[in-house]
C-alpha cells in the first residue's frame, strides 16, 4: 500500500445536482490520518456538500473517495469508519445524554452493560458526567455540543466530520470550544474534518485549511501559508485583512515584477510577462503608516477614516481614492494615530511583504 493511500483521499470529485448545478468540482485532496483539516469558504461554496460526500450522506457524481485505500463510493454512512457531528448537533431530543451517547454502540449490537460503560467513559471525556441523565433541552449550547462529540467518539471512528460545530455558540464559548476541540483531537489522535465559514476559527484550529469557493478548492495550506501567501484574489479577499491591487505588468526588476496600477507602481516578488494583467495582495499588518512623502513604488496616499482599537492592535480603515484599504499597527500607536483621523497619510510596505496573485 503506497503512502498516498493512507488516510482520506478525494480524487477528481464532482457533485452536480439536478438542473446542472455544480456544487463541487474537481476536488483532489489527501488528508493524512490524525490531521485536523478545516474546510473554509462562504455559504454555497460546496464545503458542506464535500463533507456530506465524505460522510456518505451524498454521493459524488463522479470521482472517488477512499479511506485507507478502501473505496467509499456507495458505502452507507453507517458502514463508513467515520461519523458526523451535524450542524446544530442533531441530538435525539427524547433520549437522555447517556442514551444519546450509547446509541451508536446499541446499533453495533454491543450489550447494555458494556455500552453503558463505554458511553460513560465518553461522557466523562467531555466532562458531562453530572449531566448524564438529562435530556438535550436541559443542556446549554456548549454542553449539547459536547454530547454530540461524545456520541460520535464512543464509536471509535477513524475520522470525525464536524459541520459548523461552533456555529450555534456565542463568541466567548466559541473561543473556549476551539481550544477544547483541538486539545481533544490531539489527545485522541484521530482525523478531524471541520467545516466553517469563519476564517478566524479555521486559522486557529487547523493543521491545514482547504479554502473552497465557487465549487472548487481555491487553496490548500497551513494557516500561516494562507495568511501570508494567498494564492489568488478569492483567497486573499476571503481571508480578510488583505489589500488587493490590480494592474498591468510593465516589466521585471531582478527577481521582482513591476505592476502598473491606477494607484502607482508596485513591485512584488515573482515572475511575469510585460503586458499581462497582474494582481498582488498586501496584508494589513505589513502596511506601514506614516506622514512621510509617498515613495515612487509600493506606496499610496490614503485618508484615515477610522482607527479601530482591537486591544492588541489598531486596525486602520483607510480610503484609497474611494476604495477601502486596511492597515494594522501596534496598539501603542493608537493615541498618536487617532489624531490623523480624517487626514491624509502615507501607506507603504516592503517588497518582500507583497504577494503576487495567480490570475
Amino acid at each position: 500500500m503506497s503512502d498516498e493511500q493512507n488516510g482520506l483521499v478525494l480524487k477528481d470529485v464532482y457533485r452536480v445536482f439536478p438542473g446542472d448545478v455544480t456544487a463541487v468540482a474537481d476536488v483532489n485532496l489527501h488528508v493524512e490520518n490524525g490531521e485536523y483539516v478545516v474546510f473554509l469558504g462562504p455559504s454555497g461554496c460546496g464545503k458542506t456538500t464535500t463533507l456530506r460526500m465524505i460522510g456518505g450522506h451524498d454521493d459524488p457524481s463522479s470521482g472517488t473517495i477512499t479511506i485507507d485505500g478502501e473505496l467509499m463510493n456507495g458505502v452507507s454512512p453507517a458502514e463508513r469508519p467515520i461519523t458526523t457531528v451535524f450542524q446544530h448537533y442533531a441530538l435525539f431530543p427524547h433520549k437522555s445524554v447517556l442514551q444519546n451517547v450509547a446509541f451508536g454502540l446499541k446499533m453495533q449490537g454491543v450489550d447494555k452493560a458494556e455500552r453503558e460503560t463505554q458511553a460513560k467513559a465518553a461522557i466523562d471525556l467531555v466532562g458531562l458526567t453530572k449531566m448524564m441523565d438529562r435530556k438535550p433541552r436541559e443542556l446549554s449550547g456548549g454542553q449539547q455540543q459536547r454530547v454530540a462529540l461524545a456520541r460520535v467518539l464512543v464509536t471509535r471512528p477513524k475520522a470525525i466530520l464536524l459541520d459548523e460545530p461552533l456555529g450555534d455558540l456565542d463568541r466567548l464559548l466559541q473561543m473556549k470550544m476551539r481550544v477544547e476541540l483541538r486539545a481533544l483531537q490531539r489527545e485522541l489522535g484521530i482525523t478531524f474534518i471541520h467545516v466553517t465559514h469563519n476564517q478566524e476559527e479555521a486559522l486557529s484550529m487547523a493543521d491545514r485549511i482547504v479554502v473552497m469557493g465557487d465549487a472548487v478548492i481555491q487553496q490548500v495550506g497551513t494557516p500561516e501559508e494562507l495568511a501570508r501567501h494567498p494564492r489568488n484574489e478569492f483567497v486573499a479577499k476571503f481571508m480578510g485583512d488583505n489589500n488587493v491591487f490590480h494592474g498591468t505588468i510593465s516589466g521585471t526588476n531582478g527577481g521582482n515584477v513591476v505592476i502598473d496600477t491606477p494607484h502607482g507602481k508596485i513591485e512584488v516578488k515573482g515572475t511575469g510577462t510585460a503586458g499581462q494583467p497582474g494582481s498582488m495582495s498586501i496584508r494589513a499588518n505589513a502596511v506601514q503608516v506614516s506622514t512621510d512623502a509617498v515613495p515612487d513604488v509600493n506606496g499610496v496616499k490614503v485618508r484615515l477614516d477610522f482607527a479601530e482599537y482591537l486591544g492588541d492592535s489598531v486596525k486602520l480603515h483607510l480610503d484609497l481614492a474611494g476604495q477601502p484599504f486596511l492597515a494594522k499597527v501596534p496598539e501603542e500607536r493608537y493615541t498618536e494615530i487617532r489624531a490623523y483621523e480624517g487626514k491624509d497619510v502615507t501607506a507603504t510596505w516592503a517588497i518582500e511583504d507583497g504577494h503576487l496573485l495567480e490570475q
Binding site: T84, G142, E164
Partner: protein
C-alpha cells in the same frame, strides 16, 4: 323588526374590533371579557339547559321549566329494557367499535401520508388537494354515490360483516383530512437531522423509525387517531345512506327524534355522549402531557463559568 335583528348581528361582529382598536387595553379588557362570557353562554347554554332537563323526575317535560329536580330517573331509563333503549345501547356499542377501527385506520394512513409528504413527489400537489376534497364535498353526495356503487357491484348494504366496510370507508374519508393535516403540521416542525444522525451511527431505516422518528411524532399520530374516533362517532350524513340496517348512535338518535314520542331520556343520552367526548379530550391531554412534559429544571452550568446558558443559535449559515 328585521332591521333591528340585522343591526344586532352587525353589532356582534363590530363590538370586539371596536373595543380592541378604539379603547386602551385597560378599558377594552372588561368589554371583551363580557363579550367572551356571552359567547360562552351562547355555546354552552343549551348544554346546561339539557343537563338540567335531564335531571328531572318521572313527570319531566321536554321544555323548561324543569320539574321534580333533581333525579336520575332518566339516566336509569337509559338502562331500561324499553326497545328504544336496547336499540340505543346497541348503537352505542356499534359506534364505539366502528370509531375505534376508523381511529386506527386514520392514524396509520395519516402517519404514512405525512411521511410521504415530507418530500415532494410526482403528483404530490394533486394528492394533497384530493385528500382535502372530502372536507368540501357534501357528505350526503359521498354516501349517495357509494350506495349506487354498492348496488352496482351487488353488495347488500348492512349485511353481515361486509356491511360494516362501507360505513368504515365513508367515515375514514371524512376523518382522514383532519388526521392528515395534523401530521402535516407535526412534520413541518419536525427536525429530520436527528434521523440522519441515527443512520450515521449505524441505525437501519426501520430502527431509525422506531428509535427516533416515532417517539418524536407519536403524539401527532395519537391526535390523528383521536380525530378519527370523534369524527366517526359523530358522523351522520355519510353513514346514513350506506349503513343499511346497521344503526350507529347518531342514526339511532335520528330515529328516536323522528319516530317516537320524545321524553327527557334524550337529554340524559345527550349528557352521556358529551361526557364521553370530554373523557376523550382528557385522555388526549393526559397522553400528550406524558411525552410533551416540560421540565422546568434550570440549565445548570458545569462550573466552567464560561458556558453561557443562553442557547440563542447564532445565524450560522451552512451551504
Amino acid at each position: 323588526m328585521t332591521l333591528l335583528w340585522y343591526l344586532i348581528g352587525v353589532l356582534i361582529l363590530v363590538v370586539p374590533f371596536a373595543a380592541m382598536v378604539m379603547l386602551p387595553i385597560k378599558r377594552s379588557k372588561p368589554v371583551l371579557t363580557v363579550y367572551f362570557l356571552l359567547f360562552v353562554v351562547f355555546m354552552y347554554g343549551p348544554m346546561v339547559a339539557m343537563a338540567v332537563l335531564s335531571l328531572q323526575g318521572t313527570t319531566g317535560s321536554m321544555t323548561l321549566p324543569a320539574k321534580e329536580l333533581f333525579s336520575f330517573h332518566w339516566y336509569s331509563e337509559l338502562n331500561s329494557s324499553m326497545s328504544v333503549m336496547v336499540a340505543v345501547r346497541e348503537g352505542i356499542g356499534k359506534s364505539l367499535w366502528l370509531s375505534l377501527i376508523v381511529a386506527v385506520i386514520t392514524a396509520v394512513l395519516s402517519l404514512t401520508l405525512g411521511m410521504a409528504f415530507r418530500r415532494q413527489f410526482r403528483g404530490s400537489g394533486a394528492l394533497f388537494y384530493a385528500i382535502l376534497l372530502s372536507l368540501m364535498t357534501p357528505g350526503l353526495l359521498l354516501s349517495l354515490g357509494l350506495s349506487f356503487l354498492l348496488y352496482y357491484v351487488g353488495i347488500q348494504k348492512g349485511e353481515g360483516a361486509l356491511g360494516y366496510v362501507p360505513i368504515i370507508g365513508v367515515q375514514t374519508v371524512w376523518a382522514l383530512p383532519f388526521g392528515f393535516l395534523v401530521m402535516m403540521s407535526i412534520f413541518n416542525r419536525y427536525d429530520a437531522r436527528a434521523e440522519e444522525a441515527a443512520r450515521d451511527l449505524g441505525a437501519s431505516n426501520v430502527t431509525t423509525f422506531r428509535e427516533v422518528t416515532l417517539p418524536l411524532i407519536w403524539t401527532g399520530v395519537f391526535g390523528a387517531g383521536l380525530f378519527g374516533f370523534t369524527l366517526a362517532l359523530n358522523e351522520f350524513e355519510r353513514t346514513f345512506l350506506v349503513s343499511g340496517t346497521i344503526n350507529t348512535l347518531p342514526l339511532q338518535l335520528y330515529i328516536i327524534t323522528t319516530a317516537s314520542v320524545l321524553r327527557p331520556y334524550v337529554y340524559s343520552l345527550g349528557v352521556v355522549t358529551i361526557l364521553l367526548s370530554f373523557l376523550l379530550i382528557a385522555l388526549f391531554l393526559v397522553v400528550s402531557g406524558l411525552t410533551g412534559r416540560k421540565k422546568t429544571r434550570a440549565v445548570e452550568e458545569d462550573g466552567s463559568g464560561v458556558d453561557a446558558p443562553s442557547m440563542t443559535p447564532a445565524a450560522a449559515s451552512g451551504d
